[in-house]
Subunit: 406 residues, 2 copies
Amino acid sequence: MPVNLEAPVALALVAGVRLGSAEAAIKKPGRQDLLVIELAPGSRVAGMFTQNAFCAAPVQVCRERLAATASIRALLINAGNANAATGAQGLASARDTSAAVAAAIGCEPSQVLPFSTGVIGQQLPVARMVEAIPKAVANLQADAWNAAARAIMTTDTVPKGASRTVATSQGPVTVTGIAKGVGMIYPNMATLLAYIGTDARLTAEATDSLLKSAVAASFNSATVDGDTSTNDSCVLFATAQVGSTDVDTAHADFPLIAEAVTEVCIELAQAIVRDGEGATRFITVDVEAAGTVEEARLVAYSIAHSPLVKTAMFAGDANWGRLAMAIGKAGVPGLDPAKVDLWLDDVRLLDGGEPHPAYHEDLGAAVVAKPEFTIRVALGRGTAKTRVWTCDFSYDYVKINAEYRT
Amino acid sequence: MPVNLEAPVALALVAGVRLGSAEAAIKKPGRQDLLVIELAPGSRVAGMFTQNAFCAAPVQVCRERLAATASIRALLINAGNANAATGAQGLASARDTSAAVAAAIGCEPSQVLPFSTGVIGQQLPVARMVEAIPKAVANLQADAWNAAARAIMTTDTVPKGASRTVATSQGPVTVTGIAKGVGMIYPNMATLLAYIGTDARLTAEATDSLLKSAVAASFNSATVDGDTSTNDSCVLFATAQVGSTDVDTAHADFPLIAEAVTEVCIELAQAIVRDGEGATRFITVDVEAAGTVEEARLVAYSIAHSPLVKTAMFAGDANWGRLAMAIGKAGVPGLDPAKVDLWLDDVRLLDGGEPHPAYHEDLGAAVVAKPEFTIRVALGRGTAKTRVWTCDFSYDYVKINAEYRT
């Protein structure tokens, strides 16, 4: 059961974007598992991808095409098969399926970006996908963001999407994004599968810059299990349908659009953690008073990735001894436990490395019984801070991942 | 159920060592949970401790006393309470309980080393321990290693011990060790709770050197969950009962004794992983053809700590896509997937980063169905290698750690 998360009601249309899905029976029959997103000519597209060395074939093809082509016209996304660790045949499959999209919509294959998620190490069912692609293209509609969010799901239990509209000097700009998770989630300077569209008219540099800052503030702070996917990809497309002047990073509209995109990305990143495999708790980890952001992140991820912390949170056990353990093992050089303070929401647990005199188990237990709370740590070393979102570790995480391929 | 592990039959006596346990009802009544180990005058003692910054009070006291005193006479070990994150009162408790041992056996408090494991963040029940200590001292016997191995257990399901006897120029030397685990196991340049005794006559330098090399070859290659305890401690004591010449590192007997101690440590380290919380598989991870030992360890621990790999192994699923993911996310700079080979025992899965043509799912499934197997990775970068032992991740790991304090 996802934590405080429901399917998005009605995602806003983005002028210049049409979406169409179809059934290709990639892993199993009976669901829409293939999505085509068509972009208006003149759209700017920026992408960020996994840093995993075993990156998937579609990630390699996307990187090549984004470097070579300024005029991306379509995205092809499939669920159920990651096309990763599939060698030369995997690369050919990514090219062949995107060529089928190019043929169906009338563009060059190099103008199509392919994406895959699902099982690693199996070849894509190219024939079934090539057969389904014209059906997806025939289904292209502007008003299909909700169906698209559903088509890209794998172990997600809820489709994920968010919209914002912001007034700019050239008129109202809309931002809509969709994303999927929800295991192998620890984006490393990259992100998971997320697509954010806006009708704003952005320069190429502004599009890149906006994506980088939004990802840093959102997906790069989310973790479910500390495992970095081979397929993480995040794409921002700006269809240039609003106004006639290109917005660069110095333009007065840029921060307005950036804020809307960042808000959409944060909502999507949190949605992925809320729907994290087996999650019963949505946990914000705030680390402050650190010497550097880097050491704040060491501590935050040491807590967020600790199996012992995560199983205690699942049990509703305010086992702050395990929090102290996770802080201590983070590898911050010269960390002085006597300067460390710790809270669960507003309940003070550690005061200068020792149990706070006013703390009772009941106070902590009341916090971790809730589906959503904050673990806050102050290191007493400086002013740097960071925030990470994570979930607990339940029987269902084991069940989902033990049974994934069966 | 531990994996291919039974309680040790009869551990060999070590001249100069007596052990006595008693019931102190530290966490719950009804078991021997307090152990005193008495050492003959003239014993050499070396210790290695956790690198966790939140190290426990007894670890701090041990470090002080080993630095100040050459003549340790006793060890006090309790299960059920870690005496960690307990502040000034915790330090006083460690001193007070070891003073009670000193009074009972007739030595200075500074000659007693205290050790604790169990729940973090609760104060030691000093009064109950001080009452039990004279009973443990009254029980001191040379032939009590098996009972001692049982007294130090926490979530262990099987007591852990090993013995070796080796012929030296001064006569037969015996080495016996005991250890406990079995969660929060990822020793970081230190180890977990382990005590290794020998009747050899070693110099102080030889004792230190022997412990460091044995730990590097054993406990530092074991991981259950990647969480480094606040209480990890490993102690080697040499009672100088055999022969009359001190053995230094240049002595011909040194490598013989070192081999025996290392073998005992490897058997104990493997026993801890075999009894890892919820373990159903004992897995050896071999990484070879690495550029450096450091990068071999990055890859080995990335595999051994991946929740997705560990849950697949629990399911008996040869999900090598997750192995490729874990290799790729390890952070080895410039790793080329096209040079990576992967085996499960003798079954070749990846050949130059691509699925091996002869591989079928049935071959991999037959390996991971076994309780004990090896994951072998060759990185194609050099000649460095490493070996790590780990276990799988089961429902019972979640159950044990969700219910630990209840």
